[in-house]
Symmetry: C2
Subunit: 260 residues, 2 copies
């Protein structure tokens, strides 16, 4: 009897027809059954939002020459919740989120819908991998090539023993045709803040509004972080977790006397 | 010369007119200058979303017998970014988010807009405290009383040495008039998942939709966590951080050979 094929849930935050998802789908079907459940529309920087007070509309979407999937009018985390609890025939062996159009390194990890989908899957006990492409202004994105690298990294992460409840976030640099990645590195998330800038404007009725004009640039300040290595064209792997407790402070404060 | 008064930024995710925010404002003005910059509308479960591709409209809102503040048509994290970079006269000495209508314990911490606002403030180097009221079905919420407890806990957290970049999340139980909190405890975030349930329905045109029907209940399974203690009517304090790196796995994987 043939071994039952593995099942992968593929999602993202750029929407179900995004080129990064389609490119990744082609590779994943060579190694697994793949179900696509992804947002109907772009959900970038939605963070880990979920939809509780609104219904989640779903629709069957056919992406030409690729797949038939389910589009959800919700966030990336909604897609994972709905897929795992309602839509998939069984628990997925792996959840892949991406390939996102844009890097998810440093504190941007917290804002990322791509990473939120992977973390949601980990909440629910699944192993999960978030994939992101670092876009460069003067290098056209090549999702097919990026997906080839992503697949090789996914296979190595799975071989390294990614377990249910664990998350790996992978970032891949955009490269010109004659360039290669510098290498592959496992690194921590850089937690250095970036300065926000806004342009202040008036609407046609004189009401103030602000438009975020921050330019996210990678710095090489902290060499042992995702940010610095990606800037040097490494493919970066960062294992993530979702225990936000600051255990050092916890130990310190637990010894104090508190009351009301 | 009089010492310059401290400046507190007060925000939330329930919207600028929410009773929890108004109740907290009254207490904070007794100890500090307070600026209110909060979402125009309810932003519950928005997670750590930010607005990059849309403008952020702002308006001056007067909440009767309380304050004049700035409403932002965006997420809690947007409010903090905009307040700190554009709207406040100087860097706030403390950022308070809440009091939220509903507990933010366990993995809900990740979905919480209230906590996201506090974490955003910490990114930007400020000390921050998130405040949440655990609602019980049969106990009417008493924000004035909750704010009294919250103020005492805030004072103790500040006295304990909350530094820039640090976050404390405080949860306070709803109590009947004749009840008192069991005590105050410093505890870790419970990371146990909760099962999602959805109702599947058809819209008037036959399209499938799903409505999240999960009932969030506190369990007492893990006694050393926020969830179990809040259930027993403790006021809980959990110090939070935003480094999502899983350092144990990082050390393990960093020693492996990777390549593409």
């Amino acid at each position: 009897m043939a071994e039952k094929k593995k099942l992968i849930l593929l999602t993202n935050d750029d929407g179900i027809t995004a080129p990064g998802l389609v490119a990744m789908y082609r590779h994943l079907t060579e190694i697994s059954d793949v179900h696509v459940v992804a947002p109907e529309t772009v959900q970038s920087a939605t963070g880990h939002g979920i939809t509780l007070s609104q219904p989640l509309l779903t629709s069957r979407v056919e992406v030409e020459n690729a797949f038939v999937g389910t589009a959800v009018a919700g966030s990336p985390a909604d897609c994972v919740k709905l897929a795992i609890s309602q839509l998939l025939p069984r628990q997925p062996d792996l959840v892949i989120s991406g390939i996102n159009s844009g890097a998810n390194v440093g504190i941007n990890v917290i804002y990322s819908g791509t990473v939120a989908a992977a973390i949601e899957a980990a909440f629910l006990g699944r192993p999960a991998i978030a994939l992101s492409l670092y876009l460069k202004r003067d290098v056209p994105p090549d999702y097919a090539r990026t997906a080839t690298y992503a697949r090789r990294v996914i296979e190595q992460i799975v071989a390294a023993g990614l377990r249910g409840g664990q998350v790996a976030s992978v970032n891949i640099p955009s490269l010109r045709a004659n360039e290669e990645p510098t290498g592959v590195k496992v690194l921590r998330q850089c937690t250095r803040p970036w300065a926000d800038t806004y342009e202040r404007r008036k609407d046609p009725r004189g009401r103030d509004y602000f438009w975020n004009s921050s330019v996210f640039t990678l710095s090489t300040d902290e060499a042992d972080t995702d940010v610095a290595a990606l800037k040097e064209d490494y493919i970066t792997i960062t294992p993530l977790q979702f225990d936000l407790t600051e255990h050092g402070v916890l130990r310190e404060w637990a010894g104090k006397k508190w009351g009301v």
